[in-house]
């Protein structure tokens, strides 16, 4: 066996880099690319998820999806999360900006805002289930504030259920956006602020003309992530309502088709369609938000 120490330093470097990157690449291939490849394969079969024989049925699954309007009707629900995305980004940007200046108990606030991101999504579902109960936290607080008249059955009312769920989603994911914005804002040199202050700029001017242009790229990235997230909403409605009462999303429907009705082939095709939509939306965003050269 050739000794490692006999190799030149350069070759050793190449070997080590190769070996170390092999591990994540193999993991990536096994757990990301292979399943996606398999998903494409399954989407052309009528496999039930367990049977030993898989029947190839060509594009039948895709035909089913595109000819039955009920499979796409659920995208209406995604609109709630889409609009919630902007609320989420706005809040995240607001808090990130404020906390990037000198504020008392700055780190404490950062911790509070980031905390929901650390929690498990299922736990958050259960917390908010209790929060929205008729005799739950939200209604109790409203009562204490003397706003008893505003009490609602938050998950029963079909007009409110998706707004309630989108609220829980905003609560959960805002911390992540916030921390990314904060990081981006921190990278702006303090000399720029000082210079602008000498020129007489107030906080709003600083925000408008320094912060926003500096973090534009990050803003776009977050927007793309948030919008594709809105299309693929799953865990909060799934844990809290199981998609009932008009809160079902496309992903919940896919999971139902796969595991309730044992149509893994059809569900794979739905997943492929979803993937296509996300890719399309991302490309559209890149085109619409053109970078200035």
């Amino acid at each position: 066996m050739p000794k490692l120490s006999n190799m030149s330093y350069k070759n050793q470097r190449i070997l080590i880099i190769f070996l170390f990157s092999l591990v994540p690449v193999v993991l990536l291939l096994t757990f990301s690319y292979l399943p996606v490849f398999k998903m494409f394969q399954y989407s052309f079969t009528s496999w039930n998820g367990l049977s030993k024989n898989m029947e190839y049925i060509g594009f039948d699954n895709y035909k089913t999806i595109f000819t039955k309007p009920e499979y796409f009707a659920v995208f209406k629900v995604s609109l709630y999360y889409f609009f919630a995305t902007f609320v989420q980004m706005g809040l995240a940007l607001y808090f990130a900006t404020i906390l990037s200046f000198n504020v008392r108990m700055k780190n404490w606030f950062k911790g509070i805002l980031f905390f929901p991101t650390l929690l498990n999504g299922v736990a958050i579902g259960f917390i908010f289930l209790f929060f929205f109960k008729p005799e739950g936290t939200l209604n109790t607080i409203l009562d204490l504030l003397g706003l008893g008249a505003l009490q609602q059955k938050w998950l029963l009312n079909p007009q409110l259920i998706n707004i309630s769920l989108a609220f829980a989603s905003v609560w959960r994911y805002m911390g992540m956006n916030f921390i990314i914005f904060l990081g981006a804002i921190s990278s702006i040199g303090s000399d720029i602020y000082e210079a602008s202050e000498i020129d007489g700029a107030n906080r709003w001017h600083q925000f408008r003309h320094i912060i926003i242009p500096s973090i534009k790229r990050i803003l776009q990235l977050n927007l793309i992530l948030a919008v594709s997230g809105a299309i693929g909403v799953f865990e909060i409605p799934y844990v809290m309502t199981g998609g009932s009462n008009g809160s079902g999303t496309f992903v919940i429907q896919t999971v139902d088709v796969a595991f309730k009705y044992s149509k893994l082939g059809l569900a794979s095709a739905m997943a492929v369609v979803l993937l296509g939509i996300v890719v399309l939306v991302t490309i559209l965003q890149r085109i619409l938000i053109k970078e200035e050269k």
């Binding site: 000794k3 080590i16 070996l19 591990v23 367990l50 998950l155 029963l156 009932s244 009462n245 008009g246």
Partner: protein, 458 residues
């Protein structure tokens, strides 16, 4: 310095080797599994593994893993079972594994060859696929002498599972609530039942009918009462398949869920169904905060265990307008042996022992024993001598096995899924514009289309 690098390199190499060997051994398993299955699938060379009796029991050796859904008693009651089992089979070591979400978790594990030696047959596995995963337990015609309820998991005359208990389904109610509401006679027809619910609403603080909408699966318990509404043991597996009109007025499905719809519409259910909680609902029924719930016999023991006065918890058949009252007996999970088990004899011994001698079917299972001639459970003795009959469902006609399930899945109706029940409740409380008839019509259209496909496709 050089040495460190060599070590790092080696470490990386070992790691890689580990990864690859891990992968390759898995592959081998998979190929083996496929090969075995291909053999088993031909269905010709079916030989049952029977557990020998008497002294031969001492010769059975090996470790077996028993997978169960009873997370609550796996470390207590099941440990005692194992000890008693060892008195008879001293050389078998029994390990237990309990899965909290049995159905979903076992299904994923069944795509490998590692799913224990003894396990419950998942209900979502298509009946015709059972031979690929489970060891044949014997010819149905032979086993029938000894057990009831075999027809649900039998393929081509060979049985793959024995029910761990036989359930009966209907209404579990609180006798004290009924007394307080002034309902003295157990309601029998739809009208009597709805009148009883109304008086509970008027005269007591209890919720007349708790749907457990949020838990979802609890709504599927209604489907088990279909045979009672039909008043015919042949309806579920034979009548349904033969008809294009499964959900039209007058048919059992229509009548069955009309009870649900009307109760919800008249405000006889919980205030906010979307936030119900299964665990607390059991205690609420036990202590008179809930009047009735539609469940199977398996729940009676759990509810009584929470009651201050267990005698308050009663069982009655689902209301019906049929001439006679039929309470359907149906299998709980079936117990079977994995086709990949290395100690099939020991595994089979556990299956036989568990069903016949552990006492599980009546005690922990809470239903009836599948063993023929076994004594009826206490709660059913009150029905002796009445016009209420307990009977298993008639199996499907030869060649039509599994059609109900196939049509149901093709149509995406979900007879045993909560979805359309949820839609019914949502419509009843005014969250949807559809009427009850709209929902039923939609289901019937789906049924008809799917039935045409399945019946002609075979």
């Amino acid at each position: 310095m050089k040495k460190t690098k060599a070590v790092t390199g080696l470490a990386a190499l070992t790691l890689m080797a580990g990864l690859f060997s891990g992968c390759s051994s898995n592959n081998n398993n998979a190929t083996n599994a496929a090969a075995t299955n291909a053999g088993g699938n031909t269905g010709t060379a079916v030989e049952a593994t029977a557990a020998p009796q008497g002294d031969a029991a001492k010769d059975i050796k090996g470790d077996i893993t028993v997978i169960t859904q009873r997370t609550d008693i796996v470390d207590t009651v099941f440990k005692d079972y194992a000890a008693k089992f060892n008195e008879k089979y001293p050389n078998v070591k029994v390990n237990f594994e309990a899965l909290s979400n049995y159905e979903d978790q076992i299904k994923i594990r069944m795509s490998t060859s590692d799913y224990g030696d003894v396990l419950l047959l998942p209900t979502s596995v298509a009946i015709k696929d059972l031979p690929d995963f489970f060891e044949p337990l014997g010819k149905k015609s032979d086993l029938e002498q000894q057990y009831t309820g075999l027809e649900e998991r039998t393929v081509d005359g060979i049985s793959y599972g024995i029910p761990i208990t036989v359930n009966f389904s209907g209404v579990i109610y609180n006798k004290q609530v009924f007394k307080d509401a002034g309902v003295t006679e157990v309601p029998r027809t739809f009208d009597q039942f709805s009148a009883a619910l109304k008086s509970i609403k008027e005269k007591t603080d209890a919720v007349p009918l708790y749907t457990n909408y949020a838990a979802g699966w609890t709504l599927t318990q209604w489907e088990a009462d279909l045979a009672t509404v039909a008043g015919d043991r042949e309806y579920v597996n034979i009548g349904q398949v033969a008809s294009d009109d499964n959900f039209v007025p007058g048919k059992p499905h229509y009548e069955l869920y009309k009870v649900m719809y009307d109760a919800a519409k008249d405000g006889l259910i919980e205030e906010d169904p979307t936030t119900t909680d299964w665990e607390s609902s059991k205690a609420d029924l036990a202590n008179g905060k809930i009047g009735t719930m539609m469940l199977g016999s398996w729940a009676i023991g759990q509810i009584k265990g929470l009651a201050a006065n267990p005698d308050d918890v009663g069982f009655m058949p689902f209301p019906t307008n049929a001439d006679k009252i039929l309470v359907p007996l149906s299998d709980d999970y079936n117990l079977g042996v994995s086709i990949h088990s290395k100690n099939k004899e020991a595994a089979r011994a556990w299956v036989d022992w568990f069903i016949n001698e552990s006492g599980y079917p009546t005690t922990e299972g809470g239903g009836m024993s599948p063993v023929k001639g076994a004594e009826l459970p206490e709660i059913l003795k009150q029905f002796a001598g009445t016009d209420i009959t307990f009977d298993t469902l008639a199996p499907a006609k030869a060649g039509e096995e599994g059609w109900v399930d196939a049509i149901d899945k093709e149509a995406e109706i979900g007879l045993w899924q909560p979805d359309f029940k949820k839609v019914i409740i949502e419509a009843a409380i005014g969250n949807r514009k559809q009427s009850y008839d709209d929902i039923m019509k939609e289901l019937n259209d789906k049924w008809k289309a799917a039935r045409a496909k399945i019946v002609t496709g075979k």
